[in-house]
């Protein structure tokens, strides 16, 4: 059997991302380890409190020598343009979660709307990564 443990997102700035994911999305820090002998590489993961076996890795773009300058610039650029990935979240109450997150300053791209699969809204994290916030229809079973 295979389980998903972590999935990685690029972020422009790990401190900024950490504040966003913990203070605004109410996720908990699973690990925050800085390794001096690896050029101060920082392994930073966060996840929803009620889902202890899954975490998002908030990965800083490493830069040279792992990633050459041109690639580093490209990854920054892709992320800023919103092409670096989408995370699909579920919630029990899309409208209430939307209002709560909005009041905390989360940048929404779409307000909650009824879809065939449920009610959902869209927002971005500070780096430009896209999120969907979906209240799934029970009838569709996800």
């Amino acid at each position: 059997m295979i389980n998903i443990a972590n999935a990685q997102l690029w972020v422009h700035d790990q401190d900024e991302a950490l504040a966003f994911y913990t203070k605004k999305l109410d996720m908990e820090v699973r690990s925050d380890v800085t390794v001096p002998e690896m050029g101060n590489f920082r392994w930073l993961t966060v996840g929803p409190t009620n889902q202890p076996d899954f975490a998002i890795v908030l990965m800083a773009i490493p830069g040279p020598p792992l990633m050459d300058d041109a690639t580093t610039a490209q990854v920054h650029d892709l992320m800023s343009k919103g092409f670096a990935g989408t995370v699909f979240l579920t919630t029990d109450d899309c409208e209430a979660t939307y209002r709560d997150l909005k009041s905390r300053g989360v940048e929404f791209t779409e307000t909650p709307e009824q879809r065939p699969y449920g009610i959902d809204a869209g927002f971005r994290d500070p780096s430009g990564n896209q999120f969907r916030l979906t209240q799934l229809n029970v009838s569709f079973g996800g």
Binding site: E16, D77, S80, K81, G82, T109, Y117, D120, R124, G128
Partner: protein, 158 residues
């Protein structure tokens, strides 16, 4: 902390179009969302996304119109206005040009919208936006007629 890349601001203009395509938004509104001057914005947007802000807005509206044709029984005129386009004549023209057939013919090709109902809306929207082509690009390049070619015998596949 690294400075915010310019594209992070430009994507806000795209987000504005994605959210409010049905409103009478202009390129000036998009520039404002990106926090840039009108002329600088168009140039930067084109550099980042490979098309002009106006083209993005138009193709987004056509994509939404196509979705409404596939998924609803609303009239063509109603759909035209619902996606923020003003003239039904120019809507039909640009739709036909983009999708290769008039709206009603397009609609007739998609009998079962329920099949796609479980795909998240943002994914459908992003992946079904049509490529914008100018009329000139549609015309095939004329085959250069060199003296050698005109002298050669007919090859049968012409």
């Amino acid at each position: 902390m690294p400075s915010v890349p310019p594209a992070r601001h430009l994507v806000r203009a795209k987000d504005l179009v994605d959210t409010r395509y049905h409103d009478p938004i202009t390129v000036a509104d998009m520039a404002k969302a990106a926090g840039l001057s009108r002329s600088h914005f168009s140039q930067q947007f084109h550099r980042a996304f490979g098309e002009t802000p106006h083209t993005y807005l138009l193709t987004r509206r056509l994509e939404r119109a196509a979705a409404l044709l596939r998924n609803t029984d609303r009239s063509v005129a109603d759909i035209c206005l619902a996606v923020g386009l003003q003239s039904i004549g120019s809507f039909t023209t640009s739709f036909t040009h983009t999708y290769g057939m008039p709206p009603t013919t397009y609609r007739a090709q998609f009998p079962d919208p329920a099949k796609y109902a479980l795909i998240p809306a943002c994914v459908v929207r992003a992946h079904s936006r049509p490529q914008h082509r100018t009329f000139r690009e549609d015309t095939p390049e004329p085959t250069p007629l060199t003296s050698e070619m005109s002298d050669s015998p007919p090859t049968g596949d012409l």
